[in-house]
């Protein structure tokens, strides 16, 4: 359509300048894709190649002398799989709680006829600007609610997320016409029934966005576990990963005589493998659900 509106000579072909522009554009873009993807690609090939070759720097572009030793060892690491299981539990429970807690607030705040709307909005937004800080929060959670080292502390206390509320509220404001509520009211439908039977079924897009954000957040977080958990059996995957990757606990537990030297070579192989195993669920899921993430950012960008 646009092409027809243009003068004849512009339709024939690009100018030379534009051709050069395109060449530069795509070259730079390809380089950026390589920079973005290569580190992740390297992790994968290093996790299946001979660790000696990796250490010498011989593995840069293709895997060589393939080995599954690293993964075999990972299979035998009980704490990694306990962590995996814990993270799945925390992620499922935590995501459900976040949906159950934040979506209703977002809907209530989206209603213009809510008495005290300004007050409640401020109540939920204020902590974005000022908070008790680490130590007072720790003391309240530990000394007053006795939640240290419990399952609850991983899924409940920090489940109200102001940003999710703002994004969902904007969505409700823009997508639910006021006439719909008025019609439902005339039919004798109360607020609660309206929320559960009309609002939620119409809001699958925003539910998906919040659920995905919450799930990725739970899967990737280690801070709460670091502060509030004490026993290893409750550790989520990320805390186990931190012990493997940063605190080098693979070696520490295996330090016995001559086996230690042999082990040392394998440590990095195990680390590369652990990175692959721990990131796999999110990385494989991401390309299929990325449009929801983008939608969410854009809904959030439009201020309500």
């Amino acid at each position: 359509m646009t092409a027809q509106a243009l003068p004849m000579k512009k339709r024939v072909g690009k100018t030379r300048g534009d051709q050069i522009f395109d060449i530069i554009l795509y070259t730079v873009a390809v380089l950026m894709v390589i920079v973005a993807l290569y580190p992740m690609y390297f992790i994968i090939i290093a996790s299946v190649s001979d660790p000696n070759l990796v250490a010498q720097g011989d593995i840069l572009f293709l895997p060589r002398r393939m080995t599954l030793e690293g993964y075999k060892y990972l299979l035998s690491m009980g704490n990694l799989w306990t962590g995996y299981g814990n993270t799945i539990l925390y992620t499922l429970a935590g995501t459900l709680i976040m949906l159950a807690v934040n979506l209703p607030v977002a809907y209530a705040l989206s209603r213009k006829d809510l008495v005290g709307r300004k007050f409640f909005t401020l109540f939920f937004v204020f902590p974005m600007f000022f908070s008790g800080g680490l130590i007072p929060t720790f003391i309240i959670v530990n000394n007053y609610f006795h939640l240290l080292d419990t399952f609850t502390v991983m899924v409940l206390p920090f489940s109200v997320i102001t940003y999710y509320i703002i994004v969902a509220r904007t969505f409700f404001q823009n997508n639910l016409p006021a006439e719909l509520w008025e019609a439902a009211q005339i039919d004798g439908c109360g607020n609660l029934r309206y929320f559960f039977q009309v609002v939620l079924p119409l809001s699958k897009a925003i539910i998906a966005v919040i659920a995905l954000w919450a799930a990725v957040g739970h899967w990737n977080s280690y801070f709460n576990a670091l502060i509030y958990l004490r026993t290893g059996e409750k550790y989520p995957l990320q805390l186990v990963m931190r012990n493997i990757l940063i605190n080098n606990e693979v070696v520490a537990t295996q330090m016995t005589g001559s086996a230690a030297a042999e082990m040392n070579k394998k440590v990095n192989l195990i680390k590369y493998g652990a990175i692959v195993v721990s990131s796999l669920p999110i990385m494989t899921m991401y390309p299929f659900v990325q449009k929801y993430f983008n939608q969410g950012v854009m809904i959030g960008a439009v201020k309500g």
Partner: protein, 306 residues
């Protein structure tokens, strides 16, 4: 609202009782775990003993603030926090704009999609894995980056052990991980350009470069300014998670920031009141910064957080 005129306040509240019920769980959670800790801040002015509780502990005035202000860690932690933070803001800021402009110029639909997906992807790596990758890649004995650099004849030392390399490592890995993702806002803004503008520009003989310079860039500048101002409001709150994981004994002199110091003082050596005082100081500075910045952003454009 108009329809409710003439109805009493109490009736208006009662009519929407269900809405308050919907908010109740979140309100309870927020009071318990967000607002109660704000009250707990008073321990910064007390000699907190767990056995005595928050109320029962003795008042200590500004003792712990003075202690922090006069300790050598005061200057150190503030300087490190500011250096890491400002450096990161400066280098992570321009690239998302460039990425968005590039995306906007791509006519090859499938490649554009691939370009977006692959630049967004690092955003989803967890902080722990990211830091593990940094340590592995930079290892002087068998890291892949020193190996790649030696191919082009550059010798790299042990970067993780060099205090002066810390802020660069932090900031540039942030660039790698988040610039693609941060470009989404700009891409959204560009998609709002009226196609007629481009057509008019083409008729006037503009090339692609000129279209970027005179149509796209001016359009993005207001968004960019507001985002930049908002970012600088959080200058005192560098992420604890990544800095803490990248710290080691060798680089500590330039990697100890306020939040990691608060964590170590409070939870590692149980100096609750001292640590709470440092945390409060940091929070107040942050709060003032955010308010200032919000006011500026309000004046510049019509975007604000309130």
């Amino acid at each position: 609202m108009r329809g409710y005129h003439g109805i009493g306040l109490w009736q208006r509240i009662r009519r929407n009782a269900g809405l308050y019920l919907l908010m109740l769980p979140a309100i309870i959670i927020f009071i318990c775990f967000t607002y109660l800790p704000m009250y707990g801040i008073v321990i910064a002015f007390k000699d907190f003993r767990p056995a005595a509780g928050i109320l029962g502990s003795r008042w200590a005035g500004f003792k712990y603030f003075t202690k922090y202000f006069s300790s050598y860690m005061f200057g150190n932690t503030i300087r490190n926090t500011l250096v890491i933070s400002l450096y990161t803001i400066l280098v992570t800021f321009p690239l998302p704009i460039v990425i968005a402009l590039m995306c906007n110029q791509m006519n090859a639909k499938r490649f554009k999609k691939f370009y977006q997906v692959s630049t967004y992807l690092p955003h989803f790596i967890s902080t722990v894995v990211m830091c593990g990758m940094i340590v592995l890649f930079l290892s002087p004995s068998n890291g892949v980056l020193p190996k790649l650099m030696s191919l082009i004849g550059v010798k790299m030392g042990d970067l993780m052990g060099m205090p002066r390399a810390f802020s660069s490592i932090y900031a540039w890995t942030e660039v790698w991980q988040h610039v693609g993702w941060d470009s989404i806002m700009y891409i959204a803004a560009l998609s709002a350009v009226d196609p007629q503008l481009y057509e008019a520009a083409v008729v006037d003989g503009a090339n692609k470069w000129q279209k970027i310079l005179y149509i796209d860039l001016p359009l993005l500048i207001p968004t960019a300014i507001v985002l930049f101002i908002l970012r600088s409001g959080s200058v005192m709150s560098v992420g604890f998670e990544k800095v803490y994981l990248l710290q080691n004994d060798l680089n500590l002199s330039s990697s100890e920031i306020i939040s990691t110091y608060v964590y170590k003082m409070g939870l590692k050596s149980s100096q609750y009141s001292y640590s709470a005082a440092i945390g409060l100081f940091n929070n107040v500075v942050n709060f003032v910064l955010l308010l200032t910045v919000n006011t500026i952003a309000n004046k510049m454009g019509n975007t604000s957080l309130f």
